[in-house]
């Protein structure tokens, strides 16, 4: 286990380097002069030159990259062109709503998705199965932002149960979490159903029944415990999608999180902030997948004991 752990952690380092390089290059790959893009049409030549110098764009590319890496390692994400504040400071303020939103969305969608999948598999071909898969198909095919807008219309505007947006109370999180988690819930429901159907047909499930085990424990302890190994992997892949989803949801529900910050910064061509956010989302994605890989090792003795 120890060796597997170390190997997986070390394995992410090259990935981190490649991603940081791609994100660094992103500003230079956007068509046109980045400084002109940022400063706008009215800027004078002198203003442009000052900006160019303050951003270090007058230096050779490789020097820029190394000083960018150097700053990164020291936790310096640069200064926002628009607000003149350190980017890291701007992000910290926005971090909490996004993390909370992602957390709640993951939590409910995982629990509900797996529950629907397992119940459908166990009651294969019965009404519960059809209902479960109806929910799953709806969850996959209904676009998140549309669902969000409809729910705001019903529960906020018409019924007044929850706020339309903002983050004043915990209730503000309800609709955004539901909207954000729907897709994962649906995918997990379908995946855990098919994975459970596979497991339920395995020889060791028959062995468990032949022992005289209770059907509930045959399902949970034997079939589900094996399906979980694969389900965890899918959860990891899906959380990555959640981060992208939060950009949309935070806009629909006017939540001041990192996703909103990304949208706003793009609109203002505030490249330092955009760069930092892309970096953050990528690292978060890698981190989650690392955790999932380690969890996979914990759940699957064939990996752990290699």
């Amino acid at each position: 286990m120890g060796r597997y752990f170390v190997k997986r952690v070390l394995g992410t380092i090259p990935l981190l380097l490649v991603i940081s390089f791609l994100i660094f290059m992103f500003i230079h790959l956007i068509p046109g002069d980045p400084v002109r893009n940022m400063a706008g049409r009215e800027a004078t030549t002198e203003e442009l030159e000052n900006l160019r110098e303050s951003m270090g764009f007058n230096k050779p590319l490789y020097q820029q990259y190394f000083s960018y890496l150097n700053d990164l390692v020291h936790g310096d994400l640069g200064i926002s062109y628009k607000t003149k504040l350190p980017v890291s400071e701007m992000m910290i303020g926005r971090l909490k709503p996004t993390l909370k939103l992602t957390f709640f969305a993951t939590l409910w969608s995982t629990i509900v998705g797996i529950a629907i999948g397992v119940l459908s598999a166990v009651n294969r071909g019965k009404l519960i199965d059809y209902l479960g898969m109806l929910i799953a198909i709806s969850g996959i095919s209904i676009p998140g932002f549309w669902l969000g807008l409809v729910m705001i219309q019903i529960f906020s505007v018409k019924l007044g149960w929850v706020p339309t947006g903002g983050l004043d109370t915990w209730r503000s999180y309800i609709l955004p979490s539901i909207t954000l988690g729907c897709g994962i819930m649906a995918i997990l429901a379908r995946f855990s159903r098919s994975s459970m159907l596979d497991s339920l047909g395995e020889d060791y499930v028959r062995t468990a029944r032949a022992k005289g085990q209770r059907e509930r424990l045959v399902i949970l302890r034997h079939a589900f415990r094996n399906s979980l190994v694969q389900v965890v992997t899918v959860i990891g892949l899906q959380i990555g999608g959640l981060l992208a989803g939060s950009v949309l949801i935070e806009t629909v529900f006017t939540i001041p999180g990192l996703g909103r910050l990304l949208v706003d910064s793009l609109a203002f061509r505030d490249y330092k902030v955009v760069q930092a956010l892309l970096l953050f989302f990528s690292f978060e994605y890698i981190l989650i997948n690392l955790i999932v890989d380690l969890l996979y090792g914990v759940l699957n003795p064939r990996i752990r004991l290699k």
Binding site: T207, A210, L299
Partner: protein
């Protein structure tokens, strides 16, 4: 009923749904019995209904479209088919245990061996986890596992096929069942390991008096291990006899073909050289005697009417028109035709 009797299966019929409306029988009119301490063989080619029979006895068809539609399974005086699911659960693993053809996939890959044994033990005893663990180690040792402590801490993928089957046997025997059903227990193992596993099962019968239903397609195994044999073909018992009589005087043409087909020098043959064709699918059963398309003695009646399983002497039964009083044949060694 004789007082030594442990299991008596009568006229058992199990059907599978093949479409919304239609069910077909995989086995029917299956009747056999096992005495206390007896090892009984159930033989036949692949697909003739041996596994369906064994799964019907301990009612493990619930995750398939299979349903027992007729007959009874008397075990120690109770009809198992009349028990509630909960009562049946207390029979499984405690009174009747089962082991399977694929030991490697029959153990749960994500649970350690000790936990799988402890689970089986605690289901049917009042043992604490510590006591159950101790008992698990003893059981592992009793099935000839040299290093129970180490094996108990392994996961299934760390064990060989033979070792896995020993673990399965240990698990099956952990609550001292009266009947062990072994469905092709050695088919997936290589020859030397096969012999060890068969020895082990005979040893268990000798020391514990456990009755064993040994299911196999290999008559060689039956010859070495069993006292009586039931031969199955296309969902029917077609012959019943003590082992020595079955080999010295096989009465059913199918049994004769099986015996003639036993590969000499231990070579494993793919098909049966003395019986052309293969077991029919349950959806395409021939009428009359189910064996008639493959039988070289078949006459007109064979394709029209199915023969009954009848006693042909005090210890042997056969399901063939040739053995009835109405019909008889001239065999190759020149016996007269009535």
């Amino acid at each position: 009923m004789n007082e030594n009797n442990l299991l008596k299966v009568e006229n058992l019929r199990t059907e599978f749904k093949i479409s919304r409306k239609k069910s077909v029988a995989a086995i029917s009119d299956v009747t056999f019995e096992i005495d206390k301490g007896e090892i009984v063989g159930l033989v036949g080619e692949s697909g003739c209904g041996k596994s369906v029979t064994s799964l019907s006895i301990i009612r493990l068809l619930n995750d398939t479209s299979g349903e027992i539609t007729h007959g009874s399974v008397w075990f120690k005086g109770n009809n198992l088919l009349k028990l509630s699911d909960e009562e049946m659960r207390h029979i499984r693993g405690k009174e009747i245990a089962m082991i399977f053809q694929e030991p490697m996939t029959s153990l749960n890959p994500v649970l350690r061996i000790d936990n799988q044994l402890i689970e089986a033990i605690q289901l049917h005893t009042e043992y604490t986890k510590q006591e159950a663990r101790k008992h698990a180690l003893e059981t592992l040792r009793s099935v000839g596992i040299p290093d129970p402590e180490r094996v108990s801490r392994c996961y299934p993928h760390q064990l060989s096929g033979g070792m896995s089957q020993r673990v399965m046997i240990a698990m099956a025997m952990s609550c001292y069942p009266d009947l062990l059903i072994a469905d092709e227990p050695t088919t997936a193992l290589d020859v030397t390991i096969q012999a060890q596993i068969l020895d082990l099962m005979q040893g268990i019968r000798n020391t514990r008096g456990t009755s064993i239903l040994l299911i196999t397609h290999d008559l060689g195994i039956v010859a070495e291990t069993c006292s009586r044999v039931y031969v199955m073909y296309a969902g029917r018992i077609i012959e019943e006899a003590p082992v020595d009589i079955l080999f010295s005087n096989p009465s059913h043409p199918y049994t004769q073909g099986l015996i003639a087909s036993i590969p000499k020098l231990g070579l494993e043959a793919e098909s049966l050289p003395f019986i052309p064709g293969s077991v029919p699918d349950i959806t395409m059963m021939p009428g009359g005697c189910r064996f008639h398309p493959r039988c070289r003695y078949a006459t007109e009646i064979c394709s029209q009417k199915e023969p009954e399983l009848i006693s042909i002497n005090e210890s042997q039964k056969c399901r063939c028109w040739l053995k009835t009083s109405e019909y008889s044949i001239k065999t190759e060694n020149g016996e007269s035709r009535k």
